[in-house]
């Protein structure tokens, strides 16, 4: 009975958000295009033969960056910006009365957006293969499934981190600037612009303790068939989720106590 109700809630939320997202096809297509930075980076790597020094062949490197593009496409999170707007506009008040944590709403929004984005990402990948036909490969089913799982876990980590930052909206009006600050280490350390293997030793020695390499580098390595520690990576991802979830719950309950609607 209860699980039935939850199922109905989830499917309704997803349906509503998916039809909402389909309204913004062009926006989502543009957004998919704005994620092509990994391809420019790949171009620098291969044009200057930089990959020779890190012992990755051209083909594997181009697969890596393609996978990094894919992982990034399906782990983009913008919950801070939605929540900040909603809380400044006073839309959070009605959400708080409903018997559903508003973050489920944002979560469904993200999932729906990913479904809408999927065809565009495929089209971009198609063009990538036209320009780099030698890098075509078909990952085997188990790798594919594992990398989908790890991409989803990466999305969850980022969603939790951003939700925690979003809850800071209860204390300060502009939480999005904190998110922009956090985005910088994510950009440079996650492996979106350069694979973590290529990092200098003094960074590699501590980076695997942080959540960053598990956001893009690990799932991308997994999918592209580069060498990686599958069990270690997955367990670190799960560990970070286990650490972040109670933190989010705590800050959410503290924040809602603190919450006063605009103008009160």
């Amino acid at each position: 009975m209860i699980s039935n109700l939850i199922n109905r809630k989830i499917s309704t939320l997803l349906k509503v958000q998916y039809s909402n997202m389909l309204e913004y096809r062009v926006e989502i297509a543009l957004w998919a295009i704005s994620g092509i930075i990994p391809f420019f980076m790949l171009n620098i790597w291969t044009t200057n033969n930089l990959n020779e020094s890190i012992n990755i062949s051209d083909v594997l490197l181009s697969r890596y960056f393609l996978c990094a593009f894919f992982v990034r496409q399906f782990s983009v999170v913008w919950v801070v910006f939605s929540f900040e707007e909603d809380s400044l506009m006073g839309k959070v008040s009605p959400y708080l009365i409903q018997p559903l944590n508003p973050f489920f709403r944002y979560f469904a929004q993200h999932i729906a957006e990913q479904i809408t984005r999927f065809p565009f990402a495929l089209i971009i990948a198609f063009f990538f293969f036209i320009f780099n036909p030698e890098s075509i490969w078909i990952p085997n089913l188990s790798t594919l499934l594992l990398s989908i799982v790890s991409t989803f876990l990466s999305f969850l980590i980022q969603f939790l981190i951003q939700s925690i930052v979003a809850c800071l909206c209860f204390w300060t009006e502009k939480a999005s600037s904190i998110e922009r600050l956090l985005f910088i280490p994510t950009l440079f350390l996650s492996g979106l612009l350069a694979p973590v293997v290529s990092f200098p030793q003094y960074v590699k020695s501590w980076i695997y303790m942080t959540p960053f390499p598990y956001l893009i580098d690990f799932p991308a390595n997994l999918l592209s068939g580069n060498e990686t520690n599958i069990i270690g990576g997955l367990s670190m991802q799960i560990l970070w989720i286990i650490l972040l979830l109670p933190l989010f719950k705590k800050i959410w309950s503290e924040g809602t106590k603190k919450y006063t609607a605009m103008g009160s």
Binding site: V26, I33, I36, F40, L50, K174, I178
Partner: protein
């Protein structure tokens, strides 16, 4: 059109927007840290590229730093003036408040391009200049009058091109209403400006010189600093900048004919 009136109006703009932005003092601090971190991250990325190679696209590490410095200055200018104002256009058009701007006895492009200012961008400009001075020292560049004029000319041309690109995309809001993501696409393409143009493959170099003249924005001024630039390139940049400015102006006037306020 009289200059003094516009200067006076601009002084008022500065005063009001500074007063409102300084309300968010911690925000400015967070933005400063963001700017510093993103510069550190980019230099880190560059150092990865250079760790086993002396040259990238014919540039040494110390020379490539100049590009970073110029990019940081230009990015600071974007964050100070272009970003806050031109995202405002989207709001004006969606809410129909562009009517009030058009009714004012003042040039509408002037008003919407300079109304707001974001003081945290200043700090980024300062950081950029500090790095630039450091680079001048490292690369032992002789400062003389002709060099200073040339670098001033090329940097102002870069600013004009950058402004026109931003303004161009924001103007399309009149037809498409939501162009937030188009701006994201521009931002991700501009990111290429952090690296010397020669480090990309031939086809991308053509793309970034003709379709989106990012090549002109940072590479040519940096070449001037290194004394590598040839006269025709500088002339070309002046011509491109003029064409961009005039076209963006014409395009704005053209687009205004299609403006039909909100919900009409």
């Amino acid at each position: 059109m009289n200059l003094r009136k516009y200067l006076n109006v601009y002084k008022k703009f500065l005063h009001t927007s500074l007063a409102s932005e300084l309300e968010y003092k911690t925000n400015i601090l967070v933005d400063l840290i963001t700017a510093i971190l993103s510069l550190v991250g980019s230099i880190f990325l560059l150092s990865i590229f250079f760790q086993n190679n002396g040259y990238i696209g014919g540039w040494k590490f110390e020379q490539a730093l100049i590009i970073q410095a110029i990019y940081t200055i230009l990015n600071g200018i974007t964050n100070t003036w272009f970003n806050p104002n031109l995202t405002e256009i989207v709001k004006h058009i969606r809410e129909g408040t562009l009517d009030f701007v058009l009714l004012k006895p003042i040039d509408s492009q002037f008003f919407i391009s300079l109304k707001k200012i974001n003081p945290s961008g200043f700090l980024e400009i300062i950081i950029g200049f500090l790095l630039l001075f450091l680079c001048i020292k490292i690369n032992q560049i002789n400062l003389n009058l002709s060099f200073l004029t040339l670098s001033l000319i090329t940097i102002s041309c870069s600013i004009c091109i950058l402004y026109s690109l931003w303004f161009f995309i924001s103007t399309t809001t009149i037809w498409f209403v939501k162009t937030w993501n188009a701006i994201e696409v521009l931002r991700s393409f501009l990111y290429i400006g952090r690296f010397p143009l020669n480090s990309f493959s031939f086809s991308l170099r053509i793309f970034f010189s003709i379709f989106i003249p990012i090549a002109f924005i940072t590479t040519i001024p940096s070449e001037v600093f290194l004394g590598l630039s040839v006269l025709w390139k500088i002339l070309l940049e002046v011509i491109v900048a003029t064409i961009f400015l005039i076209t963006s102006r014409k395009f704005w006037l053209f687009a205004l004919r299609f403006y039909s306020s909100a919900s009409s």
